[in-house]
Point group: C2
Chain length 562, copies 2
């Protein structure tokens, strides 16, 4: 059996290595267009930033290692230029020699990845405008940033770089994961960074009120944001630097521009071969990673996958799923009955010391799908026991099904313990857990690590209180005119208070029930909703119509425009 694998990173490399383990006799040819296989593309922004100093650190496995350890014919600088599904052949072009050869296959695996979107804008090809996809991309960006530095190796200072000034201003086009990681790394390199983003928020997989916290944090760290604006074109100035023009008519100076608008599945080869393409623009595969041609498999960023939570087809260009898909394709080619279960979009971003992580469905997506059977809560637990030094607040949005309590998704932000909670919640979603299960979760507790009631427990208890009817709730953007009761203590109100809210501190509430209306919904506020919950219980059991405002004052800044 001869298997050809097109693409030697993440999914392709995983597939090749797994297939060799399962089938010692198979002839395996893995071709990669670029100069490296199995490199760490998730590390590229950090290589640009100098956090990962050596380029060699990014090269997890080399083609030579694939040959030596796995007896795999791994060819770099080799591009698959066409497929003939009928003849079961692939035409390969050697990028160095230009030579084209035709190779026969029994099974073909496509792992071409996704290419950075590069819109046909005026000036898009000017020097100083870069994408970040490959190791060579990172290399040229590093060189561009380091030009004019006095501590450069001689071969670089002696070149054209010598005549240029060290870059000061950067524009990052796109506020997604790579855009934000690049922004941070460019700031670390001493550049002034502006992010231009077409949407009204950064990090599209986050709901906007969570993204807005990220935006404020970016600004606090010196990143300028130009949201709801798109790049119209680029122009070179007399001094050799760039000017970035936007549709709104603004312009931003830039000595370097990073294009991080997003990625598009590389489907040209698959399309030309007549393989089915899905409605989201990725290669359509079944749960065994088989394309519409039974002898051709596809994995990684180029394929559409089923969203595990919503059942929708989606594009999830992440390394974890790509690796798992590669393994599954290898299993199936080797005659095993493995199936890909879909993806739940678990992802994480580190940014200026903070962590943003999420898993499962977000509210935007559920709303777009017309789903109504869900509710959300905002909670603000400590990363570990408050009595132990260094605890940080985690912002946690939990989305769950109203009818059965099933956990649907979670988004979290903070300075400590964030991705740990999302990992536990990701495992919960994978296993079909409900918020009632989260209530009973037994996680690590010592005061420097967590709390006797972990944030994950709270992510169950608060929704369960809602579903059991113990704690009706509303949200700041749906309060709609009820009575507002603030149960905080007066010193807290002095810092920030809500116009029109009546203040009765919780300890006085039982004695002052007579001051509250019996004919109106009472919306209860405290700092984060703990005391509001106690107050709601008191009022409900005394015959009032009462509900908390989820997240209290802490969610107010997220949901109420200033």
């Amino acid at each position: 059996m001869k298997v050809i694998i097109v693409g030697g990173v993440a999914g392709g490399a995983s597939c090749a290595a797994r297939l060799r383990r399962l089938d010692e006799k198979a002839e395996i040819l893995m071709v990669e267009r670029g100069p490296y296989v199995s490199y760490a593309n998730c590390g590229l922004p950090y290589h640009v930033g100098g956090v990962i100093e050596q380029e060699s650190s990014l090269l997890v496995f080399t083609a030579q290692m694939f040959r030596a350890m796995f007896a795999i014919d791994a060819r770099t600088n080799t591009e698959a230029i066409s497929i003939s599904p009928k003849k079961k052949t692939v035409d390969l072009r050697n990028a160095t020699t230009g030579e084209v050869t035709t190779e026969k296959y029994d099974k073909l695996v496509l792992s071409p990845g996704a290419a950075p979107i590069r819109p046909p804008l005026t000036g898009i090809d000017l020097p100083g405008i870069f994408s970040v996809r490959t190791v060579p991309d990172a290399k040229v960006i590093r060189e561009w940033i380091e030009r004019g530095s006095s501590d450069l190796p001689e071969e670089r200072t002696s070149a054209a770089f010598q005549t240029l000034e060290k870059p000061k201003h950067a524009v990052v086009v796109g506020g997604g994961y790579i855009g934000l990681e690049m922004a941070e790394n460019l700031v670390h390199r001493g550049l002034e960074v502006t992010i231009v983003e077409m949407l009204d928020q950064v990090m599209a997989p986050l709901d906007p009120e969570c993204a807005h916290l990220v935006e404020r944090y970016l600004e606090k760290n010196g990143v300028r944001l130009a949201l709801s604006d798109a790049v119209a074109g680029f122009k070179q100035t007399a001094g050799g630097s760039l000017e970035v023009f936007t549709k709104s008519g603004k312009s931003h100076p830039a000595d370097i521009v990073i294009l991080a608008i997003g990625v598009r599945p590389e489907t040209s080869l698959a399309k030309a071969a007549g393989l089915e393409i899905g409605q989201r623009g990725g290669i359509r595969v079944d749960e065994q990673m088989r394309t519409s041609d039974p002898n051709i498999f596809a994995v990684g960023d180029a394929v559409e996958v089923k969203d595990f939570v919503t059942g929708e087809w989606s594009l999830i260009p992440l390394a974890g799923p790509a690796n798992r898909q590669g393994r599954i394709a290898a299993d199936v080619i080797a005659g095993r009955d493995s199936k890909f279960r879909g993806t739940q979009g678990t992802s994480v971003l580190g940014i200026f010391g903070a962590t943003v992580a999420m898993t499962g469905a977000n509210e935007k997506l559920l709303t777009r799908l017309g789903q109504k059977d869900f509710e959300k809560v905002y909670i603000f637990p400590n990363s570990h026991a408050g009595y132990y030094p260094g605890a940080k607040t985690i912002v946690l949005k939990v989305i769950f099904r109203k009818s059965d309590g099933r956990l649907l998704g979670a988004q979290a932000l903070g300075l400590d313990g964030v991705e740990k909670r999302i990992d536990a919640l990701a495992m919960a979603i994978q296993m079909g857990a409900t918020v009632y299960d989260l209530e009973e979760a037994e996680l690590c507790y010592a005061p420097q690590f967590g709390s006797a009631k972990d944030p994950v427990n709270f992510a169950g208890m608060v929704p369960a209180n809602v579903l059991r009817g113990d704690m009706p709730l509303c949200h700041w953007n749906s309060v709609d005119g009820g009575f507002l009761l603030d149960v905080r203590n007066p010193p807290e109100l002095a810092v920030e208070s809500v116009p029109g809210a009546v203040n009765i501190p919780l300890p006085e509430l039982r004695a002052r029930l007579g001051e509250l209306p019996r004919d109106r919904e009472i919306n209860i506020i405290c700092r984060s909703a703990g005391r509001a919950y106690f107050a709601t219980r008191i009022l409900m059991q005394n015959g009032f119509k009462a509900r908390i405002i989820s997240g209290g004052m802490l969610s107010r800044s997220m949901l109420v425009p200033k």
Copy 2:
């Protein structure tokens, strides 16, 4: 309805607060023997160590807060001295006045906790020997440590402390969680610490080969260990310090002794009231936390609970389960149908910057129960992507059922990312996950947080490889005379090698199969078992009998005595 709650910490306090939320009209009386309710006893060692500087930080809720916020009659310094289940009364003694009153109840909740074991040894009552259970305990230990310090407040320097020298030597009796936490905090205070432990290992819930790693780490951090030895008695020296004598005939000088031998459920009140006590010595309750008397509930460290994984009755004196049990007792008293699901023993220890965490069943327990349907693997993944600076090795032992792949337990140690993986695995165990589920887990990946194949994925993939028959395995302590093949590279062997092992580096293996025996089991070694797995696949497919030695050289130091 009148409910009396005996014990105002963890379980009792949770029960009281929850009951008030569910029943605004109930009369709730909560009595606590000590001076404080709802204090953070898990923080006590860190208060002694000065990490938590203020005693007030430990007081999460005060009796006054219980009265003001929850309308709960919370009485400190009040001990329940007897129960009459027939009359439904409790006799309470005010520790300050000595006055005894009798209170009627409709429902009674016992949350007396567990008391530090204080064996009747010679000299046990000498000054300088302390247990660590309450806030006052921590206070006297702090004062004892700080005596002779020049920076003490005047009222203390002027007292008897003035005549004593600053303590130099400490003996901690018991190498469990509290013993180790106290040892660390005493080292931070500048003391030389010796731990005397009766067992041949510290941290009894760990399997011994994992505990031995903790022991070496303790020694590296200056803690002296006296294992397999028990204290025989204490003697005061002429200079006023102590001498700790052990059964083996040794003696250890000590200016302070911490008794951390373990805890014993406080069952005297329950026993006197005729309540059923389980075979492990805790109060027996049903899954609704009801004792053998339908009007009396018990929660927390004093009760026996069902081990979620093994189904065995066990004593799990942890804050998380205690809090959940308190909530459940309150639910049931308020007429709800809540049930405690049992506990899985998830726990964590921070020690000199390292983390040790575990969940589920350990091998010792399964072996003691006579179970044979399980296997284990040792893996050594990086805490995050190796190409990003700062990745640390995690030592991870995974125990799973052979017949169906069910995850049974996990133990992990390391300097980074340890409890995060145990939390994900704890959630997996709770939801009945198999190692096949772990293979497909979708967790947070960016290079500073994890890997595309997270340690949790490896915790599934490696066992799944074993169960699918792709990777037969054995362990260092069960190799029993097969052929030993080391597939590492010669420079690695120069550092450490296994006597009698034949070396064929993995890249040369396919060409040198003729050097291997076809009639013997070939046990394959590499650093951590990755290359050994590849080699096993090559050999198996070439007709050899081959298996890896789980964990390779990295597990060897755990399992092979020096």
